[in-house]
């Protein structure tokens, strides 16, 4: 038993040693996943089913304005607190729009999100904001498109956006309806702060202050009374689309309100 105990302590020591000496996992997750893509997620993802849903109503007892507080807004407020914290501790971050300092991750501020960073995030106005983020994946850096190497399957609107953007060092985000009717129903979308994540947020380096950059998508003009199937995808040269199940290249969700 003594020996067993010794083994256990030894093993504990080993793990602690690994933890101390490796800032990042010993084995990169990239080696695990075939595509090597970071997973894509969205916020507020509250109703978790196989196809996530953002749904709220303005009728009946469950109506949005009747409720003391709204679960979506509440969730977002909580989620975005991390960015308020970051703002308070600015000294831990570098403002990468100018230059990146050693050991200080790039800051992401709530105000960058424009209308999606304040108030009730457009929910009472039936113009909700949805936030796209990608999973932290150490040492992963997107390979940027130059504008001349855009793939065939890229949506036309994104192509135009990329071509016209002066800063092409972005992980591009594109949202649209999954099927043509969805595209019709979804109406116009606007992206904050940019139509992608700025390249300087990559790679994730295991720094404990690292803050996840977001892209807010404001659904300005959704057709009411329909469940609209929306897909948001991220685009870079080193993102492939072979296996949709790994949640690594895009995310799909339903939007519904009346």
């Amino acid at each position: 038993m003594l020996m067993l105990g010794t083994f256990f302590l030894l093993m504990l020591g080993c793990t602690e040693y690994i933890r101390e000496n490796y800032k990042l996992p010993w084995i990169e997750k990239k080696s695990l996943i075939e595509e090597g893509n970071p997973g894509v997620g969205f916020i507020p993802n509250i109703i978790k089913t196989t196809s996530p849903l953002i749904w709220y109503t303005f009728k009946g007892p469950q109506a949005f304005d009747n409720m003391k507080y709204n679960p979506y807004v509440d969730y977002l407020n909580k989620y975005l607190k991390a960015y308020d914290e970051a703002e308070k501790n600015k000294h831990n971050y570098s403002n990468c729009e100018n230059s990146k300092e050693e050991d200080k991750p790039c800051i992401f501020l709530r105000k960058h999100l424009g209308p999606c960073g304040a108030g009730e995030f457009g929910y009472p106005d039936k113009k909700p904001c949805i936030y796209i983020k990608i999973n932290k994946l150490p040492e992963w850096v997107p390979e940027y498109y130059t504008g001349y190497d855009l793939p065939e399957e890229m949506p036309h609107s994104l192509k135009t956006a990329i071509k016209t953007d002066s800063n092409k060092k972005k992980l591009w985000v594109h949202c649209d309806g999954v099927y043509p009717p969805d595209s019709d129903h979804i109406g116009a979308l606007s992206y904050y702060p940019h139509r992608g994540i700025m390249g300087y947020y990559f790679p994730y380096d295991g720094n404990k202050h690292y803050i996840t950059p977001l892209v807010a998508v404001k659904v300005d003009n959704i057709k009411k009374g329909y469940a609209v199937n929306m897909r948001c995808s991220v685009w870079a040269k080193n993102i492939r689309y072979t296996d949709p199940r790994t949640h690594s290249a895009y995310i799909q969700m339903y939007l519904a309100m009346d």
Partner: protein, 1020 residues
Amino acid sequence: MMRKSSIIRTSSEAGTSVTYIKTLVKTRTPTELDQFKKEISIDDHIISLKKLQERYNTDLQDGLSRVKAGELLRLYGPNCLISSATKSRWLVLAEFLFGGFAALLWVGAALSTIGYLVSYYQDPRTPLDQLYLAGVLVAVILITGIFGYYQEAANTSIMESFKKLVPKFATVIREGNMLTIPAEELVIGDVVEIQGGDCVPADIRIIKSRSLKVDNSSITGESEMQPRSPECTDTNPLETQNLAFYSTNVIEGAGTGVVIATGDNTLIGHIAGLTSGIEPEEMPIKKELKYFIKLITALAIFIGATFFVISIALGYDFFESFIFLIAIIVANVPEGLLVTLTACLTLTARRMSKKNCLVKNLQAIETLGSTSVICSDKTGTLTQNRMTVSHMFYNDTIVDVLDESDKVNRNAEFKNLCRVGILCNRAEFKPEQEKIPILQREVKGDASESAVLKCMEILIGDVMTQRNQMTKICEIPFNSTNKYQVSIHHLQNENKHLLVMKGAPERIIDRCTTYALNGSDVNISSEKKKALQQAVSKLGYMGERVLGFADLMLSKDKFPVGFKFNTDKVNFPLEGLRFVGLMSMIDPPRPNVPNAVEKCRSAGIRVIMVTGDHPITAVAIAKKVGILSSESETIYDVAMKKSISVSKVTAEDKARCSARVITGADLREMSQSKLDSILMTFWEIVFARTSPQQKLKIVESLQRLGYIVAVTGDGVNDSPALKKADIGVAMGISGSDVSKEAADMILLDDNFATIVTGIEEGRLIFDNLKKSIFYVLTSNVPEIIPFILFVTINIPQALSVLAILLVDVGTDLWPAISLAYEKPEADIMSRMPRDPQQDKLVNTRLMSLAYCQIGFIQTCAGYVTWFFVMAQHGFFYDRLIGIRKEWDDPFTNDLADSYGQEWTYEERKILERKGYAAYFLAIVVTQICDAFIVKTRRLSVVQQGMSNWVLNTGILFVIFVAGVILYSPGVNQAMQFERVEWYTFVPSLPFGLFIIIYDEYRRYFVRNYPNGWFARETYY
């Protein structure tokens, strides 16, 4: 299905045609069987013929009337043997599929199906793992069940072999006419004719006999011809000369008899009914398995219930907790064990059949190992079943010609004796046997004449030429009234006639006046006569059959060449002969039997002789083979010492005897408790003159005393005892079909010594099965714990159900089975037979060592390896504890690890499968180390050596299989594994080494302090 009965119409010349019902199968009640177990007690052989005629309403001259016979046939049914209702083949198969261990597996399969259904009801996306498990369990049951069923030769053919014994037709006298009718149509009171070559068609009382001789071997086991005559010579129906029994063979002569019993009521009917109706004792290994199942079930339910309560307390709802309960119970079921057991036994069976030990019932192998007493038949098993001359008496000396034939003093007296032996002998060698050793040659003639012939061929040689030189002029053959045999020969070189006589020694001595002694003929004085008689009884007490020899040179004057000798009106002297000597013969023991009996003794196994032969012969053989040790004394020894007959031995002397000889007559009067107490008080016992029912009684008595009884026998008479015994052993060469059907094992070489080999194998397999079970059980622990931790401290699953199955019915199998090849650790034949009450196949010590110690270490190894892989990828143990809910939530796609790295559900599942692979690898590594420690229960592995190459290859095979499973693409996906780095097994190595070192120390203490704590608490 067997038909229960059929309706048959007599079509024979019996006249009036009668329709009767023939019962084919009958369910016999225990009382009926008890009736069969009783000795037949009849007085049909004692009463006068007149009374007999009245009793059966028949006419001894003309037989029954046809009408009456028809009536009786319809009333009592046909004269045939009726099978006891045996278990149908389906029932036997069902027993294999649903009995014992299979039942446990069925429960496991059912539970896991229920578990699946319950969780499916809760969440239709439940993985199919539980169903796989159920499927594998069912497959294991079916495969091993059907295999076992085919291995066990069904006992349904016992009756068939009995039916081969009985005749088809009988010659009967009805209304004064001689008819040949199917033997089935015989009824009580029928007068039947029998003659040499026939088979007695029912139990009959002999009313007329013309030198009728029968072979009663199916009743007594002794294949000696017995004369039959109308006189009642004994009150015991088995001994009297005026009864002949159904199915016995008529060797020579002819006779007439009245049927006194038919069908089931005959003696053979009783034996057949008993044999087919007796339920054999439950195999000890079955009892062991039952005990084991009890243990493991109790353990499974205990662990399951504990965690059911814990999970309720932890706030799981009832259904979830119930699923946990089921999963834990099922995880305790050792899926591979049944396969391992069956395979181990089959391998041993194959090994044994190479050693001339054919096992009909796999489980009988182990029974042989736990045997504590052997009831051995004498003739054919212990002895060669071949009469051989062992002593000669001439010139006042007894000479042993069997063992010391080279020391024979070849003086004139010897030559005289041999001349008589050669001449007064009708036996002849069958032709074309020159190349066969003399003792094994086949001979035409009766047993004692052949013995003399062979003895002469060995001592003198060329018997036939000498016989031809001294041509036989005439002879009077042996008959039971004269008890001698005479022939007259012409001596060419002397041109004289020589009269030679052989026969019962007393009769021969009476007819002699002179005695060849020291080169001259001396007159036989009354003292000399006494001395000669003493020599006869001395040989008799050696259990030998004695023949006297005499000759007389006929004078040339009275009996010139060409003299017409008349054997009907004897015109030559038959008295006043010259006594030349004695020869005595015995059926000698097989050469290696004494050695085997000695081995049995040192292995703590009692050997009891149970024979149908005479007590004196039985005692003599028992002494020769060591069943009665040389220092022990029986009443026969006392009688011989004091030169008195056995009946005159005083009670005081009887009480001093250290060994008992019990005859059938003694047994008849003995109560059950008396028999029990004799069997308990006397270690050395010989039963002689026993009937089939008595053999059964002895076996039952021994079993009541807690012995595990092996019975050996070759005859029909042994079959009830063979069936009842814990293990019945029949003889392959000399054994009757019936005995082979009733037995569990067959000795292909008829040799008692082979049983000892069998016992050795049986004991070895018991030891080795313990090891196999230990090996299989150990890996249960690292398989259960992940599940428990999953529930209690909410860490992700470390091992999948599929991986558990891979270990249990995959990598564990070969090493577990190969332990059957492990050589014994010490001389297993020098220890006592195991005590079925104390020495269990699986005991709590084995369980606690396997579960709490080695299994626990394996679990540690598994988790350390698993944590190692998890940490490699970013999840440290502190992050893992309590993570389960989020981990298993398919919609949490950004679960952060210890580094903040975020994981989608699918990515986590890939990592989980890597974890399975790591944990699996750790189990494989530690199980390999486990294989090193289970090789021995007491010795160090260094002492035992690694010479079990089946195990060694098995270990290599396991490594290979693990490699293929983990690293070949496709296969690993199918088995729910992911590739792990090759060095992943390293963290489990120290634990493996620890297992080996730990257990070496444990066994060191067990070895050196046999009464110490380690031996008491951990020696399994």
